[in-house]
Symmetry: C2
Subunit: 445 residues, 2 copies
Amino acid sequence: MRLTKYFIPVLKETPSEAQIVSHRYMLRAGMIKQSSAGIYSWLPLGFKVLQKIEKIVHEEQMAAGHIPMLMPTLQSADLWKESGRYEDYGEEMLRITDRHGRDMLYGPTNEELITDIFRSHVTSYKDLPLTLYHIQWKFRDEIRPRFGVMRGREFYMKDGYNFDLDYEGAMHSYNRHMISYLRSFERMGLKAIPMRADSGPIGGDDTHEFLVLAETGESEVFYDNRILDLAFGNKEVNYEQRSECAGLVENWTKPYARTKETHDETLFNMVSEEHRKESRAIEVGQIFYFGTKYSDSMNAKVQNDKGENVSVHMGSHGIGVSRLVGAIIEANHDEKGIIWPEGVTPFHCGLINLRQGDDETDLACEKIYTSLKLVGLDVLYDDRTERAGGKFATMDLLGLPWRITVGPRGLKNNVVELVSRRTGVSEEVSIDQVSKRLAVIYGLV
Amino acid sequence: MRLTKYFIPVLKETPSEAQIVSHRYMLRAGMIKQSSAGIYSWLPLGFKVLQKIEKIVHEEQMAAGHIPMLMPTLQSADLWKESGRYEDYGEEMLRITDRHGRDMLYGPTNEELITDIFRSHVTSYKDLPLTLYHIQWKFRDEIRPRFGVMRGREFYMKDGYNFDLDYEGAMHSYNRHMISYLRSFERMGLKAIPMRADSGPIGGDDTHEFLVLAETGESEVFYDNRILDLAFGNKEVNYEQRSECAGLVENWTKPYARTKETHDETLFNMVSEEHRKESRAIEVGQIFYFGTKYSDSMNAKVQNDKGENVSVHMGSHGIGVSRLVGAIIEANHDEKGIIWPEGVTPFHCGLINLRQGDDETDLACEKIYTSLKLVGLDVLYDDRTERAGGKFATMDLLGLPWRITVGPRGLKNNVVELVSRRTGVSEEVSIDQVSKRLAVIYGLV
């Protein structure tokens, strides 16, 4: 993409309303624009990141055997009256009356709607286990929306729901979700720690939150820092193997890691002092097992192999897709701007022409631009007639992991500069090699 | 995907509320479930088709140089008061009050919001031309929602907005939209006819609707049937060439084609009788040029090359993404069920095991299933222990373009049956060749 044909309205000034770094950088980098309190338009660059995160979530959910679908944003109030949550939910639920005077609401979550779909179509244990999920816009009417997309009112969330015949089946679903979530966050370049948590208004017995360490986080967390050494890497997971999944979850939940709400000082003090850490953190996901809470109240039963009607065991599992954009920036930035992890970067690399209008430099840039596209790399080419300093500052703010700089001096030796945004390390690479070099880095060859 | 691990809740009975064939088949094939009047959940199979259509629209819009972004579903009423449409829009606009008593609305369209984004960031003619689009859920509170997803209340729409310095620039944007729309519909297996139309509440001077011929359509149309012979095929379009685009649009708009609202009997009678046709049709898209209507009222101006502030010329361009799912079925079905065009089919092919539980047949199916996946084909494997008749009926209802049938009789000769859903033509193919054969059909090799 050529910058002159794209739309990245970079702001020179730091917007005064933004209190945290992700909000400031998302506004300054032209990723979002507030349309009203806690509601944002995702400008082209922000939308690209949102799509990358959505794609990772879809891929990992489907790999775990979970089935994608899509529920609407607006729901009838009737189902919520049936479950008893219509009154409970309070003012955060946006209540709406349609032209016929019917009570509706903008879904803040989907336990009722999915349970209704389930009970309408599934009657036998033979159709279990079943896990359905969707990624859809939600609305919670926060009294004080703040921190940009981190605590907005309209937000994009993946929520999945498992239906199992018994507790053991539901625990396997719980484990699959934990693993698929950890893998998703890892692909996004995040260290997310699963922490035993409180269940809040969803209700439930077992629940873990996933927290990303960041100074600006709203949560206070206590953990054994050896959990930060765990990683999946390229390891495949067989999601059908209950014991394999249980073993992985055991590894990830053995080290002490709790939020303030469930923190246990005695247990925490048993962690050796060098590993005992306190920090602020951002919640980016949560999984719940809540047994038969909704299946009882909404009569979602199946016939088991003895011919008895039994309530199904359920859980719900959420990832804050739009919030993650902010969380990733909180965990990946410096004083110059964003530093995108390679898994979610809006463009694989930036290309800077140091002398726009100079025939030889323009030609070299065009050649590199074309060769990058040919190997499947998405490149942002700064083809403006702007001074070099301005181009560097913009590219640093946007935070693409790799920058190729093309100028007359290097071209004399047939080389360009390749710089890592994260390490700042710079190297000279021949014009012919630079696209291959990046293709290797991104695993495209 | 194995049917026993998927979720396609096929209905045996035809739902009484469904008046048209697409609505009946979408319910029967387990593609959608109504959650309240005019609001649907997209079950896994329906969601897959919706995603395919969305992907085609994205690809063709980006090919035309249009930039994807995403605006929120909820909007502040303020912008609509500024444009003067808040009162005009009537009861179809879903008006909402948030917890602080602020007037909001569920966006039925986005001219105001995009104009606000534009005027906040663009000030110079040097940043033009610019076309931004998004695909987002919209809401129109239809008094009588009907025909399933064809006239729902919550619907998925692509809407794009062009900003140009002058009339000529805006006309080129108009032409790009017409071409990219026609190409999109063609990839979806539809013959969509551009017809001069009325502008309605959007306002505007030039506007075309895109109509798909179908007996159940709500529109009455009059056309020269030679327009049905036009097609793009694999022809590339250079969207930067104004004259090339204008020439293509000229070809597509020369034959007489109008809706009832703009029909001109005298002009129509000049078409030779053999080509003069009247029909019912479904509207699946519309493009508008409306000049400075919104840029004047909302003060969206840029400085031109003489230093003067001038209102930008705008247009808006919509495709009914969720409606298209219904329209495609209206145009592609028989008495047994849906017949998906290859460009939008939820699975490339179906695989039927005629003797589930028989070792040799099961093994052959597994082998074919794996080889189809290896060549990149998405297959739905009916691995249920159901009688053959039931499996055929389900597969015909779901409408996958190709069906592979595996049974003991064929296996004796090492062959399976490959059947086209559209033509019914059946052929014997060796087990080893069937995935290659389909890969060729789908252009994967």
